[in-house]
Symmetry: C3
């Protein structure tokens, strides 16, 4: 278990320069580095052209270099300075053209004139360069030399999968994405936090089996679901999409489509006690892989805990979402919150009191023997747990009902089970 976010930040720092996309060698390089941390990580490939529900695995894209020379021959845009300069999935080009033509292929943000935007075009062939609006405004008429040394060809979609078996076949699911190039909060934070959650899980006793995947967003989750949805629909009891978990400005929660899954309950409980000012979004605000995991007919119980949510912070999808935006503290806060969620889910069960009426706690040393004006308060947590241990509510639901953190109730529940005062009915309650 980590005690700070520095390792996660170092990992993000190492991964940051790699040019990732939904396919290609950048994804392979990324998974290789993650595999150094996670020996059980399996790298999988699915061939271009493979049908996945309504989609098809696209051709693989790789890029070696790209630049623009101005009329005087100076390299004014250079892929090696920032891989955001090239529109993702750009087709190759090697040509001279005047500014007017070049300008049709340039992308910038007038309202954020110092930022390079992040643009992709996976499903329509085009090429383009991204640059700051300031730089664009300074371009002078003349002949420009334009070169993108890229390749779009049949290959594979690459992803990582890590299965950690538990006592039960019932699964907890973690998903994060590895398709963003040099962007930090969205999205190197997700793979880094997920990697360290997986390292922690690998070393602890697990009631549940953990299915942890590192995929390209959208096409990756669709591809993965087209392979595993039927199994997952039977087994997955809770899941989290791990994204935007790097900065230190706030916490955010985005529900599953159903909104009342075990993952939602755990997320709301943990954030409510750890960071009560968290921002609560609606499923209408969705925008990441929950769109697939919670889609009609899939309906996995996947909720999302974030720091600053994609689309909601000014640096989102620009060169300003860099290593300075995220921090060890930001990463560690998200790691801790998700870890607490997993701990709550692991420790959850439906307790039932074994004796009618209140048990006599005193004879078991669980109750103060002298009844005073104050003593009524001291064993409140234990009494409340027993009062609601009626076999219809799980420990997590009781914790929420009596407004105590689940982690305060866990040792009490352990003690009551040792004393034989509660028994375990099942691992969790059924949700609607």
């Amino acid at each position: 278990m980590l005690t700070s976010g520095s390792e996660m930040y170092q990992l993000a720092h190492r991964l940051f320069p790699i040019c990732r996309s939904v396919t290609g060698d950048g994804v392979r390089a990324t998974l290789q580095i993650l595999g150094e941390e996670l020996p059980t990580l399996q790298v999988r490939e699915v061939a271009s052209g493979t049908p996945c529900f309504d989609w098809t695995v696209p051709r693989e894209w790789n890029i070696r270099d790209a630049y623009v020379l101005d009329p005087t021959g100076i390299k004014i845009i250079d892929f090696r300075a920032s891989n955001l300069h090239v529109v993702g999935y750009s087709t190759p080009i090697d040509a001279e053209m005047d500014l007017e033509e070049l300008d049709q292929h340039l992308y910038s943000l007038p309202e954020q004139p110092d930022a390079i935007p992040y643009i992709t075009s996976y499903y329509k062939e085009r090429w383009g360069f991204c640059l700051s609006h300031e730089q664009r405004n300074a371009l002078k008429p003349g002949k420009y030399r334009v070169r993108i040394d890229s390749e779009l060809k049949d290959g594979a979609l690459t992803f990582g999968e890590c299965i950690l078996p538990g006592d039960s076949e019932e699964e907890i699911f973690l998903s994060t994405y590895i398709c963003h190039p040099s962007l930090a909060n969205n999205e190197l934070s997700g793979p880094c936090v997920t990697t360290y959650l997986a390292k922690w899980l690998a070393e602890m006793p697990r009631r549940y089996t953990y299915r942890i995947i590192f995929i390209p967003e959208t096409i990756g989750s669709i591809t993965y679901l087209s392979m595993h949805a039927e199994t997952m629909k039977q087994r997955v009891k809770a899941g989290f999409n791990v994204t935007c978990v790097g900065d230190n400005r706030t916490f955010s929660y985005l529900p599953s489509r159903a909104g009342n899954s075990l993952a939602d309950s755990a997320a709301l409980h943990v954030l409510g006690h750890v960071y009560p000012d968290f921002k609560r979004y609606s499923y209408l605000d969705r925008g990441s892989d929950e769109r697939q995991y919670c889609s009609p007919g899939i309906d996995l119980p996947v909720a999302t805990i974030m720091r600053s949510k994609y689309g909601e912070y000014p640096e989102y999808h620009t060169s300003l979402d860099n290593m300075e935006l995220i921090s060890p503290e930001g990463l560690f806060g998200a790691y801790e919150a998700l870890m607490r969620c997993l701990q709550c889910i692991e420790a959850d069960f439906v307790p039932r009191a074994t004796v009618p009426c209140e048990p006599q706690l005193g004879k078991r040393g669980l109750y103060p023997t002298l009844s005073t004006k104050e003593s009524g308060m001291t064993v409140r947590g234990m009494m409340n747990l027993l009062a609601y241990a009626d076999g219809t509510r799980s420990l997590l639901e009781i914790a929420e009902l009596i407004n105590q953190p689940m982690w305060d109730l866990m040792p009490i529940a352990d003690r009551l089970r040792q004393e034989g005062l509660i028994q375990r009915l099942s691992g969790h309650t059924k949700k609607a």
Copy 2:
């Protein structure tokens, strides 16, 4: 489809002078004029004395003339000046009496001294005159000549019925009443708006069959239900009681007794988007024929959209509820709101997505091909519709959930059906 309220206002103007009551020639004259607009309108009669549940069809009342001459022989109250001057269902009288005796039969409103009140006595035989409190105060002692040339005899209760067959036997029900004499908002507005809704419905393709009735209030709806309740309980999926739809001051909503019928959902959705400041009443505020339609054992899904609600505006049930109170704009606003409700109900269906995960909208030309910071927002409505097309919610319920007007979703739903991305499960969801 109308584009203004002028025809409806003209129709109200033509009907205004007729002396209507729960039975009699005024009702027949009214239905004849409505029949000129609605060739499919059938006039029905039910004989006096016919038992209807706990009630009996009353004797028919007709009146030719009525007046009061003052001690100097001047006609100070004249039925021909305003049919409100005579208490509805007054028995005949032809007598001289002094002011003291006459005064027992006079009705006026001290708090609205310039208004003639609207008074009826259907089920106890009496006679009376209504006048302004100002006029009443000016009456001088002496002998008055009093004459009411009316007749109460076995005859019939008359109503109009218009059945517009649709693709399905399932019915939408519209009811309005034609028993009020010279009163405008409550109630010539209802028959006029309903007539033009029926004209519009007659000319459009109809999924549902429409049952549209023009009846006297209370005894008319009870009589009609005693004839058709069993059929209607099986067939009617939504209904509206059309009353008080003429002035331009506000919109009002009164729920069905259950409160969650398709008619309620449509009314709330339409008013919420068209006139969000509408006044929301409770079923405890009821006062019109929903009292019968929603009664225990009948329980039809009938909601009410109004402009200023009966009992809630100062001119209610007085001579001040006249043609100046209502307006073409007021009538047209109600017509449009009810038309939108019927459009929503006609267009509603339970969609189910046909592919797991999100479909690839791009290959169908439904999605921008270049992913930019802004492009995520542009197809939000389509994505939201697909995200909730899980076979448990109707389009109207999805529209409400994602807070978009149903009429914005209709063309999107059409397009998705054409593309085969959603299929139609059923016409509406079952309500509790």
Copy 3:
């Protein structure tokens, strides 16, 4: 039926000096006095050592005298002045000791320096004295003579039970406790109010059978449940724990664990109409015998109406909770509120309208014959009752829904039943 609280106050005054505990002669003396008021009260005894669920009936405790003499021989603490001076269930002692040792056995309240605290030690053998903090501070070093002439031996737990048979085997349950020594609001108010409720019930026609018990708190309710829980779980439809019903500062409500029982509905309805500013507690604030009655596996529908709740008023469990704290007005207010609850429960039934649509009230003399602007309001209660008499709601639920006191609806319901317009389906609705 009482018309003031003076008899209840006199009864409390007579009982106040008796030294009660969970067992012993004080309980017997108390029940004998209550038996003078309630001839049907049966006194029951359960032998020490009898197992009761997770508990065992404790040994019986009796005390004849107790005092402390200061170094000069003056009796500075005297059981005969206040039985609160001795820790309940103190073991006997007869010894000399210096102040330092004595002080280990003294209990006082620094924050309420003029109050003697109420302390007990039922399940661990110890002895002790309670005194005001002022007095404790004035104690001087030296040899003290300490004597408690008490006895702890096998005997019995004593309680009172009064069964009042009704037309039905279905039961209403009242429970109050008689284990507190000279304390007034908590708890002589409960037995006194319960005694007079029982006297009132004994003389009225009863639809339900009433089970009324006077027990020691906690061990008494557990003992009683261990004997009768199975019968009570089948029969008890509503119950009230009667405690802290003596002062005149506020009303309080503490729900059953389920929170939606008939007892809860009645309590909320009565307090909502009689004292709308009542304090509403949560089941998490529980602290009396509802802890047993509502425990998992017992789950009786027992709610609590109080004046100032135990633990929530400054005099609680000190010598300041005396006869000056409670008042005839305080006792009478609680008596009336509980009586209204029982009246509501006795009068409750599920009505169903016998005719479709609204009945014709006029022909039965139930409706004004002249329809005027005002007349619509006059029969609103009757019409609302009929409008909701659909066989799914009880009269109490309808009263709550239409926001009218149940006691206003009772005569209307009687009249409608006489007219045959509603019929009785069952005595109450099933709760979840």
